[in-house]
């Protein structure tokens, strides 16, 4: 039987992996993937609580959240593609145009 805490644990695990990915990723693609993982962690969390209290609103919020995550990753990819076309590469450590 799957308990609530198991799902929440899964969500926390995903979240930690996502944060770790953001902090250590070298490439832009990995960064975007990490962001998606964090959003998924949040989605799982919402679903878990929604099912726990038998409330269907949570399910629709998660659907909305997935759509937003898709749009967000599209914008992220667009930025990365245009950076790539300008020949600057997508290595995050080297994208330091906006520093002091």
């Amino acid at each position: 039987m799957i308990q609530l805490w198991m799902v929440l644990f899964l969500s926390t695990l995903y979240f930690s992996i996502g944060i770790m990915g953001i902090l250590v990723a070298r490439g832009g693609i990995k960064l975007l993937m990490s962001v998606e993982i964090i959003i998924n962690a949040a989605n799982i969390n919402i679903l878990a609580w929604a099912l726990n209290i038998n409330d269907s609103n949570g399910i629709f919020f998660v659907l909305l959240s997935i759509a937003i995550a898709a749009a967000e990753s599209v914008i992220g990819f667009a930025i990365l593609v245009s950076l790539h076309r300008k020949g600057k590469g997508i290595n995050l450590a080297k994208l330091t145009d906006l520093r002091w």
Binding site: I22, L23, V24, A25, L92, A93, T96, W100
Partner: protein, 652 residues
């Protein structure tokens, strides 16, 4: 609010307000129509003259119907509105005020009429007439104001107008700097005046109508009894006297008036006869009780300031060559007589306002006459002002020079012209004062010598201008000016001749008001005739030097050496003010303040900026541009906040 002896507005109150409002309203009117139409420019002089004439008619209306009161037995009426705080504004009309209003509007009317001819060709004459109209309106408002705060506002308005008019020909560098000098020097006086007003306000603010002329004229003993000593009054009086010295050009603030001759001559006539310099004398007469109840040294200060100025200006007048400056120094000298007349009364503890005002009115007539005839000369001689370039004008312009002759005789006090009755009365008065108080001896002496000096410089000017041969091309071709300029000369000549008849009436007009006790002085006959003898002697001296040339003034000047140099340089007062006080002292002070402003005030402001720039030089390195650093720091911050919150709340 004290609205004494007054129930309703009646026609006299409205007339009193209109007296000064009509010329003031004329100011924007003339400016606007003169700006937008040529016809307006042409009739601007007539408009201004009409406005002043209306004021004169209204003054005459009040005077001729005048018991000046709503209650029988009172000698004034007083109408006040609340203004701000417990200060009021309104009109206060008594014989003193109405005499001044009549004199100012009457003389100003004649001068305006003269100016229609004199300024006829000036392209900016609508500006000129608008400003003189405001000038006269300001003076009339000053004369009629019921409160010293309102008085001070009009006082400043008069100062502003004098600045504008002296600098009317602002394209002449001399005129521009003379206007500036007049403004700054009178400003020095005005600072003292406003300090004096502050002291007076401090003494009277507990009464329900502080600084009102009515209170200051009737309730000074009450104010003293309330807690203030007569030392406070003396301090207030002395400070106010500083303002008087600035406005009425008394020593040592008289230096602006000779330079003010750079303006149009009609402006000089206005300043000297009607609108500006008499304001100071009027102020002392207006708040006469303050000096009466003050410590004796305040009265002596008034007296000796006047007497010394009368003497000092007379000596300078002898060596000046500019016809208008001679008249300017004579004005300073005569104002000294008026102030000294007031001072004698203060020292004796009696009212001598009548004597001072009589001389003031006579002087207004004769000085307007002299300036207007000098104006005619300059008008015809194309602004040649050096008397050494004139000469022989009596034959060329007989009416003008005859008018000047009458003016000159009146000025020196030749009987039976009006000046004899006004000026000799003051000298006799000062001797009468000496009989009662020996401190007055030198005042009498200075005034007596002043009479002699007046004769010498007046007739030096007159002889050089009128007799002899013409000494320049312009002087050879002079002739009398047009009728619009002649009529004022004739009217003023007539007044100068016959006004002596009204001496007793004039004194009586003030008599009931200020309880003047002495009319005839108990002094020896030879003292009474001494001024006249000195006048005759002065005439002889002037004749020998400047008409018959039996004696050569240049030789005397060379022989007297250092005295001549001192007098010729106006006692080095201009040097003192400009080269020593201004350049050595004020410039250094100004540099000090500049340095404080630059290094301390600006230093604080700029220093804060510099500190943040230096700090940011180091701290901006935080912004590496690498996104993950930001994310890491944000996360660390979030964790730190969460931990703090958990600790503060006390665990989950």
């Amino acid at each position: 609010m004290v609205i004494n002896s007054l129930i309703n507005i009646n026609q006299y109150v409205i007339a009193a307000f209109l007296i000064f409002l009509v010329p003031v309203i004329m100011f924007p009117l003339i400016l606007l129509i003169g700006k937008f139409s040529e016809t307006g420019k042409r009739i601007s002089g007539i408009l201004a003259t009409t406005g002043i004439f209306i004021s004169f008619i209204l003054s005459w209306f009040i005077y001729s119907n005048g018991t000046f009161s709503f209650n029988p037995g009172d000698y004034y009426f007083n109408f006040e509105f609340p203004w701000f705080g417990n200060i009021t504004w309104g009109v206060f009309v008594d014989p003193l005020a109405i005499t001044m209003a009549l004199m100012v509007s009457g003389v100003s009317f004649l001068i305006h009429m003269f100016a229609i001819g004199y300024m006829g060709k000036d392209p900016n004459k609508h500006v000129y007439f608008a400003e003189t109209s405001l000038f006269t309106g300001g003076m009339l408002g000053l004369v009629l104001s019921a409160n010293l705060v309102m008085f001070f506002l009009f006082w400043e308005l008069v100062g502003l107008c004098s600045y504008l008019l002296i600098g009317f020909w602002y394209f002449k560098p001399n005129a521009a700097s003379a206007a500036k000098k007049a403004f700054i020097v009178t400003r020095v006086g005005d600072v003292l005046l406003i300090l004096g007003l502050a002291v007076l306000y401090w003494m009277t603010f507990s009464s329900n109508d502080p600084l009102s002329i009515y209170n200051l004229n009737t309730q000074i003993p009450l104010i003293i009894s309330r807690m203030h000593s007569n030392l406070d009054l003396a301090i207030a009086g002395a400070l106010i006297l500083g303002g008087v010295a600035g406005k009425s050009s008394q020593f040592p603030l008289h230096v602006w008036i000779p330079d003010a001759m750079e303006g149009p001559t009609t402006v000089s006539a206005l300043i000297h006869a009607a609108t500006m310099v008499t304001a100071g004398i009027y102020l002392v007469a207006r708040i006469y009780p303050i000096y009466l109840y003050a410590l004796p040294w305040a009265g002596l200060l008034v007296l000796y300031m006047g007497a010394f100025t009368a003497f000092l200006a007379g000596t300078i007048g002898i060596v000046v060559n500019d016809v208008k400056r001679i008249l300017a120094y004579s004005t300073i000298s005569q104002l000294g007589y008026m102030l000294a007349a007031l001072g004698v009364g203060i020292v004796l503890g009696e009212s001598t306002v009548g004597y001072s005002l009589y001389h003031l009115v006579v002087h207004a007539f004769l000085k307007a006459l002299l300036f207007l005839s000098a104006g005619s000369i300059l008008f015809m001689l194309l602004d040649v002002r050096d008397i050494r370039k004139m000469g022989g004008l009596w034959k060329k312009m007989p009416i003008t020079i005859s008018a000047m002759f009458i003016g000159a005789l009146t000025l020196i006090g030749f009987p039976p012209l009006a000046g004899y009755f006004s000026k000799d009365a003051i000298i006799s008065l000062s001797y009468y004062g000496y009989l009662h108080n020996t401190a007055l001896f030198w005042a009498w002496f200075l005034l007596l010598i002043g009479a002699f000096l007046t004769t010498v410089y007046t007739f030096r000017m007159f002889f050089v201008v009128a007799l002899g041969k013409p000494k320049s091309y312009a002087a050879e071709n002079a002739k009398d000016p047009p009728w619009v300029m002649i009529i004022p000369l004739i009217v003023l000549s007539g007044l100068s001749i016959i006004y002596g008849l009204f001496q007793t009436d004039f004194y009586n007009f003030f008599n009931g008001v200020y309880q003047m006790t002495t009319m005839h002085f108990d002094i020896p006959w030879y003292i009474e005739w001494l001024p006249f003898i000195l006048v005759l002697f002065g005439l002889l001296v002037a004749y020998l030097f400047y008409a018959s040339y039996k004696l050569n003034p240049d030789t005397v000047a060379r022989k007297s050496g250092i005295f001549y140099r001192i007098v010729k340089n106006k006692y080095y007062l201009d040097v003192l003010f400009t080269n020593i006080i201004a350049e050595r002292f004020m410039v250094i002070l100004a540099k000090l303040f500049y340095a404080i402003d630059k290094y301390v005030v600006d230093g604080i402001v700029n220093g804060v900026g510099i500190i943040f720039r230096i700090l940011s030089e180091y701290f901006r390195k935080i912004q590496t541009g690498i996104v993950q650093y930001y994310a890491a720091i944000m996360l660390a911050g979030l964790i730190a906040i969460l931990i703090t919150v958990f600790i503060l709340i006390g665990g989950i």
